[in-house]
Symmetry: C2
Subunit: 227 residues, 2 copies
């Protein structure tokens, strides 16, 4: 469903861009439809960068990203926007919730953009919030939620438009083991339903539940193992 | 060093405040000088709320918080500010870095407020960034840092003014196990140096390294165990 070919991501900093940070160095990766892939590696090794490229939220400096066989760089912005809104669900490492919308409003937001009628999106949003154990927090603003509650709202939001590809950046980092197990079950169930799931994680339990694992170090994929 | 007596924290929401969220319910807790205490519990159980009260960043709805025997509610704002800036180091669950300052600038900031001369604070900031493995990232803004790098900057910043009390809210949540071990060593060393450390964590390794553990559930302390 998504493929990276010879992908580099290089940041330039400092006056005249003389300082270079190579976040990804020549990455080749094919994610097959229906996979459940775990990405692990040290802090700063390039995992979030990789995930953003997969979700078409960012462009490579060199190389290509193919989404269902089409080179993302050749797509018009309307097509890209549709991919991001309807085909891909993204759980950000720092959640990126809209601060002025409630938990419910945040989960509804992608559906608003997709033109889903109000009654349907309210029902869907409430169902998703229940699945992450937050039905009683639906009226809270992000600032009125605990860290782990914000994380769960972000997960619910990512599933709102029935995406084909779910990209989750460390989705259990702020959760105790019981709540984390609940999220892991949700990811597994979603995968069983046919959604391709790529999860960046430091949690060995999440990695074990995935069907394939790969490790990143210094912007390179250094090992991959299949179940 | 800090004591909670009969502490309640109640949030009021909705029109006329008719919805009540009891984040903490009658908490009694004494943290002794030099302790290394781990606080665990489910997402939403009140851990961050507890930590904010300990660090004098928030006030209880009922009950008292004593800092070194003095009721915090009787302190003038200048005395409170001095506690927060020089006596307490706080690592926030969502980091709360200043977005317009570099990693170095963020670690320097508490020292600027404490009137530390420039040469001394630069040296201290660089030493702390090295200790968390981020010397090469000192010129990056928070948006140019990975999640785990931002977390480590927050940890370095909390130690800048040689606090007596270090309060860390899930400081390894975004870190792989090797980097997390580095942070845990730093917390242990800091405790050996005489700093009282209270860490909220979901990580069993961090909890094991602490000398005392307590659990929170639904705003109550439900169990405590000593080493
Ligand atoms: N400003 C607020 N208004 C209303 N409710 C709030 C507010 N802040 C926090 N809460 C609620 O208080 C409860 C405790 O929050 P707290 O942040 O202390 O939890 P926590 O134990 O740190 O959770 P986590 O492990 O997810 O970080 C949560 O259920 C949360 O929804
Ligand atoms: N805008 C930027 N400018 C410069 N460097 C950047 C920028 N964004 C990220 N980096 C650097 O690129 C590297 C990879 O970042 P990335 O966020 O992908 O790491 P990560 O593997 O997700 O780490 P973590 O586990 O800590 O979240 C990091 O070392 C980071 O400092
Ligand atoms: Mg990351
Ligand atoms: Mg918390």
């Amino acid at each position: 469903i998504v493929e990276l070919l010879g992908v580099w991501k290089i940041y330039h900093m400092g006056r005249r861009g003389r300082i270079t940070v190579e976040a990804l160095r020549g990455v080749d990766l094919a994610v097959r439809r229906g996979e459940f892939l775990a990405v692990m590696g040290p802090s700063g090794s390039g995992k979030s960068t990789l995930l953003h490229l997969m979700g078409c939220l960012d462009r490579p400096t060199e190389g290509k990203v193919l989404f269902e066989g089409t080179d993302v760089s050749t797509m018009r912005s309307a097509a890209l926007a549709r991919i991001r809104n309807r085909r891909v669900g993204f759980v950000f490492q720092s959640f990126n919730l809209s601060p002025n919308l409630t938990a419910l409003g945040n989960v509804e937001l992608p559906m608003v953009f997709a033109g889903v009628p109000r009654r349907e999106r309210l029902a869907r949003a409430r169902e998703l919030l229940s699945r992450v154990g937050l039905r009683e927090r639906e009226r809270h603003l992000p600032a009125e939620l605990s860290g782990g509650e914000q994380q769960r709202v972000a997960i619910a939001r990512a599933l709102a438009n029935f995406p084909d590809l779910l990209l989750a950046d460390e989705p259990t980092g702020n959760l105790d083991s019981e709540t984390g197990h609940g999220v892991l079950s949700l990811l597994s169930e979603t995968n069983v339903e046919g959604v391709t799931v790529v999860v960046v994680t430091h949690d060995p339990e999440v990695a074990t539940a995935a069907k394939r694992r790969l490790r990143i170090r210094d912007g390179h994929i250094v090992e991959a193992s299949d179940a």
